[in-house]
């Protein structure tokens, strides 16, 4: 239970609530001070990055965490709600403000800080009610960061729902033409999933009995311990129907965020309508919350059900991969194409998780990170061209390679990273996922079928390259300027990370591999 504090407050609290502080400052400023608002928001994101680097320096990668309290780092644990209901039915409600990081969540914290910064810089092109925008933006970061570090199910749920609210407005106010449709679709879809999560959460609470205190609990670490559920309770017997149902319910809740087929159709709409920076956040961080939820909550609390549902999950993953790629191939809108490619790539993540092997799970988490960085760059690049040309139609372009060489270079790196070119980060993660899937005899055939995704991936990406960059430049685009310095600032750090992790993946893998080993050995026990 290592702790790390700045000014007497734990680092994770800083990470979570610093954006709220920023939000308050932004709200206090007059509306006309747009420049100050922008720089303050970006400044807070930089601060967040500094803290994450400080955490990285103090991070002990030899500690596993997951279900052992001792292995968690940067832990903060304070009683938050403590109510004693006299009625016997409910008993004592004890909810903790319990934050902590381990190999599963720490990479995601880093990702959130990074993408948060990139998104803030990318938001500079927003020209409408900046004050409200940045306030919402910072609040969104709080929601995401909180979800990643919360170790109390109740707290997790609170942050999970907090996130919805700014996202709804960010899409609904600053979005494109059909923004209201997209925002409502996003909101309702996610809320629909939350209902299942809420039910399971309450069921877990009432059937749990902390072995130490004898109370019902929301503490995730305690819930992972099978002894927490007395045999006579709902979830008391391993592999019983309630456990399977609860797993399925949680899965639906998380699958909507991932998104897993057939719960995915909110994603293309949300992406297409959202402003660039919000697409970046959406693809870069938000989708990972779904898969993170699976490995943080579903798998360790219901390991028996995870094993039971391994095959269906792998099938869904395969559908995601292939179906997403096929849909991407048919798109005529640049942004929609990338949205569908996201669905395809998140399928890889799910496949790696479904393999329940160390190598596959490592690949899955690594892929979560890589997809975050790569897709962020791709969305930024779409934003660059949209800002200039005010269209995203793939058939409207052509020949941009000679007109915008720097833009071409950055986009090509992101594109080739997304099709898993060696030397770039996604290659490692995708190979891991396939190796993991293949090593699991049950889902081997599914893995082989999914691997055809690499062909389809290459097909639609190269076709896109051809349509947008190659050939003759239509005369109407003679006035396009190459990518600007601000746009480079937001994309080049990501490109550097993509290349660095492709060449030397240890930088990342060391952060998580012990935790993953622990997780898998716990699930497969």
């Amino acid at each position: 239970m290592a702790e790390l504090k700045i000014l007497g407050i734990g680092v994770l609290s800083w990470m979570v609530f610093l954006p709220v502080l920023g939000m308050i400052i932004v709200l206090a400023l007059p509306k006309s001070q747009t420049k100050a608002i922008k720089y303050i928001a970006a400044g807070f994101m930089v601060l967040l990055m500094f803290i994450s680097v400080y955490m990285l320096a103090n991070y002990d990668s030899s500690k596993a965490g997951v279900n052992s309290l001792e292995g968690l780092q940067f832990v903060e644990k304070v009683t938050w709600i403590d109510v004693d209901f006299p009625a016997a039915m409910i008993g004592k409600i004890h909810i903790e403000y319990f934050l902590g990081a381990d190999g599963l969540s720490f990479p995601m914290v880093l990702l959130t800080a990074l993408i948060g910064f990139v998104g803030a810089v990318a938001s500079f092109s927003i020209k409408k009610n900046e004050k409200g925008y940045y306030a919402m933006y910072l609040f969104l970061i709080t929601g995401m960061m909180g979800t990643f570090v919360a170790l109390d199910f109740f707290l997790f749920f609170v942050f999970w729902e907090i996130m919805l609210f700014p996202m709804y407005f960010l899409i609904g106010i600053w979005g494109g033409e059909r923004r209201l449709y997209a925002a409502i679709k996003f909101f309702l879809y996610t809320l629909f999933g939350s209902v299942f999560m809420l039910i399971v959460m309450i069921a877990l609470f009432f059937s749990s009995k902390d072995p130490q205190t004898g109370l019902h609990t929301f503490n995730l670490i305690t819930l992972m311990n099978p002894q927490t559920f007395p045999p006579e309770s709902f979830f008391g017997v391993l592999g019983n129907t309630w456990r399977l149902l609860a797993f399925a319910g949680l899965f639906i809740g998380f699958a909507i965020k991932v998104p897993v087929f057939p719960f995915h159709t909110w994603l293309p709409d949300a992406h297409v309508e959202a402003p660039t920076a919000i697409s970046v956040i959406l693809a870069g961080v938000l989708l990972k919350l779904g898969t993170y939820g699976l490995i943080r909550i579903s798998f360790p609390i219901f390991p028996d059900a995870a094993r039971y549902f391994m095959y269906p999950m792998a099938i869904l993953a395969a559908i995601n991969i292939i179906y997403g790629a096929l849909c991407a191939m048919a798109q005529k809108d640049f942004k929609k194409l990338i949205a569908y490619s996201s669905i395809s790539h998140m399928g890889y993540v799910l496949l790696g998780m479904a393999s329940l092997t160390t190598i596959g799970m490592n690949g899955a988490i690594f892929q979560m990170f890589n997809h975050g960085t790569i897709t962020a760059v791709m969305f930024l690049m779409v934003g660059v061209i949209y800002d200039r040309a005010h269209t995203r139609g793939l058939y409207d372009f052509g020949g941009l390679a000679n007109k915008m060489p720097k833009y071409f270079a950055v986009t090509m790196i992101a594109f080739f990273a997304s099709i898993g070119l060696p030397g770039l980060s996604a290659f490692i993660s995708e190979s891991f996922i396939f190796l993991g899937g293949f090593n699991n005899e049950i889902i081997r055939i599914v893995t082989i079928v999914s691997a055809t995704g690499i062909i389809l991936n290459a097909a639609y990406i190269l076709w896109t390259v051809q349509r947008v960059f190659l050939g003759e430049l239509p005369t109407k685009w003679d006035g396009l300027n190459d990518i600007s310095v601000r746009e480079l600032i937001s994309s080049v750090p990501l490109i550097v990370i993509i290349i660095a992790l492709g060449i030397y993946p240890s930088l990342f893998i060391n952060l998580m591999s012990n935790s993953v080993t622990q997780l898998i050995s716990f699930i497969m026990k």
């Binding site: 096929l326 070119l421 690499i454 893998i509 993953v516």
Partner: protein, 674 residues
């Protein structure tokens, strides 16, 4: 000294990468856009690889392994490593030599191109990745570089991306290669599943201790070979290579003739000892089929580069077939000799195209012998080599392969006899179509007078590589005996390793030991040599009869054999077949998926939303008339009373006082009454 030597392969690998990085970032600012840098580095590399080769001759095999990363504390370790053995030492020289010469050639050929510096950068990237394939000692790293050569090939085929055909060709090359790589990847997964490691040495020792069951071993072998099918343009994935000729001609020489496409052969040679009998049968038949198909197509093509491309495919089929029948050394030997003479031919073709101002159709050429003597002589030497005429390197390697196929046929009998038959047929056809090319291009009378008059010999930067490469097509570089490679120093270097599965039997083929094979080869040697010479001579003769002496009217022949002619001219309709099956299928599926998404899934979602809205409308009505009705009724009642009561609320204090008094009086009486 030895210490330094160990790191030399690493240096050789890194130097082209450095060249790539410098030129891609600073190329535009360097003098002459950095071409001297790329070229100079490559010649340095050539020198270093010669040194490595010489050192290898005295030191023998060695390999170096570094940790790359590992999973968990006691889990899988991933390593990067390099191996110098007979295969990689030879390939280092081949790759570096041809790459250096192509760099030199390109200085003049690409002069004035708007992306001149990028071109050299890409060449550096390609050389780096190709060298990576050559010296790596593990399968995963092989895959890494495998994909990277695919990338550089993509970039270079599509180098002139302003035009449509190069775009299409580049895309096709990459995607078709990906299909092969899909198999390769699954092969790697199988090996990893059973062995838990990627290093070749571990894999081979694992196999010899029987870690992989035989069925899986065959599957792994065939799947790994799928990578080679893609990269070496073997049937059925051969269609990308002829299209790849849309790239600059020196690139075709380097990548699509000499080195990258040979990577598949190289891979097959690397994994040769783990290929089971059935896998080897598969390899041999794929090679033979490819050799045959490509040769028949090459007979009728008219584009100088297309002919060379199909001849390349055909020769690659030869090499694959050679390895398939067990003639490892000869397959690799042919790889090396072919690399030199085919690079020479492509560069020669480049020289012709350069001289003819971008004319590629051979029916517009003719008589260039006088205008371009150096190009002609070097091209002729290479043509003799590929046709298998004595005193050339091609004779040595090709003859050995033919003899091996005969030996193979005689050992196994049965259906395997097809392979030597195809091999000899292809030898004859090769001689025919190559001489057709030479005659139509260099001999006879010029057909396009205007272009001919402007034609000139290429400058020294271009002819020098031609001379060096054609010089390397002479026999004595490989063996002092012009009639047999056997016993020559080169074959001794490239000694075949013993298969791990000697004595195992497949469906139609069983793996014999090296000695047994040599015994059979010995018997086949002279018959094969005589037969091949006869066939090659025949091919050349027919070609002269047809095109030089014009004794036969080729137009009439075309009419007489019209279906066959059309079939060959249209490349067996492979492109059409793939287009109407695989491509249409995937595109259709993609359109279907997209529609499904839009109308079915989103339809359900929107339908659910619509239903909810309707339901809430109904709820609204219920609310309005029933629930609200009740509420309003209550409210109404209260309202009526309120209306009555408000009369009392006059706002006048006096009224209140009056009420007060009245109430007090009333209360008095009430209390009294009680």
């Amino acid at each position: 000294m030895e210490f330094a030597l160990k790191f030399l392969p690493l240096a050789i690998l890194i130097i082209p990468l450095v060249s790539f990085l410098i030129i891609i970032f600073f190329g535009k600012r360097l003098p002459r856009q950095g071409d001297w840098l790329g070229t100079g580095f490559l010649f340095l590399n050539l020198f270093l690889s010669l040194y490595v080769f010489i050192a290898f001759m005295s030191l023998g095999n060695y390999s170096i392994t570094y940790d790359w990363f590992s999973l968990g504390a006691n889990e899988t370790k991933f390593t990067v490593g390099f191996v110098v053995d007979q295969l990689s030492a030879v390939m280092l020289i081949v790759v570096n030599l041809i790459s250096a010469l192509v760099h030199l050639f390109s200085v003049k050929y690409m002069e004035g191109d708007s992306k001149y510096s990028k071109y050299f950068a890409y060449l550096g990237l390609f050389t780096f990745s190709m060298l990576g394939i050559v010296i790596t000692n593990n399968l995963l790293l092989m895959y890494v570089f495998w994909e990277l050569v695919g990338l550089s090939s993509y970039l270079l085929i599509g180098f002139w991306y302003e035009k449509k055909p190069p775009q299409e060709a580049a895309k096709k090359a990459f995607i078709v290669n990906r299909i092969g790589d899909f198999g390769f990847l699954i092969g790697i997964m199988i090996v990893f599943y059973f062995i838990g490691n990627f290093a070749f040495s571990e894999i081979f020792s694992g196999i010899s201790s029987g870690k992989i069951p035989s069925g899986w071993l065959t599957a792994a072998g065939i799947l790994l070979f799928c990578g080679a099918i893609g990269k070496s343009a073997q049937f059925p994935l051969h269609t990308w290579l002829p299209d790849a000729m849309e790239g600059p001609t020196p690139v075709s020489a380097l990548i699509h003739a000499a080195t990258m496409v040979a990577a598949g052969v190289y891979l097959t040679a690397r994994i040769f000892i783990m290929l089971s009998a059935d896998a080897l049968t598969f390899v041999a038949f794929i090679g033979a089929i490819t050799a045959f198909i490509a040769a028949t197509i090459a007979l009728t093509q008219n584009d100088i580069k297309k002919i060379l491309a199909y001849s390349t495919v055909s020769q690659l089929g030869y090499m694959i077939m050679a390895i398939g029948v067990g003639a490892y050394s000869y397959g690799v030997f042919h790889l090396v000799t072919h690399a030199f003479f085919k690079a020479c031919m492509f560069l020669g073709a480049g020289s012709v195209i350069y001289g003819m101002h971008h004319i590629q159709n051979i029916s517009e050429m003719g008589g260039l012998r006088k205008k371009m003597p150096i190009t002609f002589v070097t091209f002729l030497i290479s043509t003799l080599a590929i046709s298998g005429i004595p005193f050339t390197s091609g004779f040595l390697s090709k003859d050995s392969i033919l003899a091996s196929t005969m030996a193979f046929g005689s050992i196994n009998g049965g259906i395997t006899i097809i392979i030597p038959i195809i091999a000899f047929l292809v030898a004859g056809m090769t001689a025919f179509y190559m001489f057709r090319l030479v005659i139509k291009t260099f001999l006879g009378e010029p057909r396009n007078k205007e272009k001919y008059d402007h034609c000139h010999e290429s400058p020294l930067q271009m002819t020098l590589p031609l001379m060096i490469l054609s010089g390397l097509s002479i026999f004595f570089f490989y063996s002092f005996n012009p009639f047999g490679a056997e016993g020559g120093w080169f074959i001794n270097v490239l000694k075949s390793p013993e298969s791990l599965l000697v004595g195992t039997k497949g469906a139609i083929y069983h793996i014999v030991s090296r000695e047994e094979f040599h015994e059979a080869l010995h018997h086949a040697h002279y018959p094969a040599m005589i037969l091949s010479l006869v066939l090659a001579g025949l091919g050349i003769l027919i070609s002269f009869v047809f095109y030089f002496w014009n004794k036969v009217d080729t137009e009439k022949l075309k009419k007489a054999l019209n279906p066959l002619y059309k079939f060959s001219l249209n490349k067996w309709y492979f492109d059409e077949l793939y287009h109407y099956t695989a491509v249409s299928f995937v595109m259709g599926l993609s359109a279907l998926a997209s529609l499904f998404d839009k109308y079915v899934i989103d339809g359900i979602v929107n339908g659910a939303a619509y239903l909810t809205v309707k339901l809430s409308d109904f709820g609204g009505l219920f609310d309005k008339y029933v629930v609200d009705g009740l509420v309003n009724f209550t409210g109404g009642t209260v309202w009526v009373f309120g209306m009555i009561l408000r009369k009392f609320q006059t706002g006048r204090v006096q009224t209140y006082i009056g009420f007060l008094v009245f109430s007090i009086v009333l209360l008095y009486f009430i209390f009294r009454w009680i």
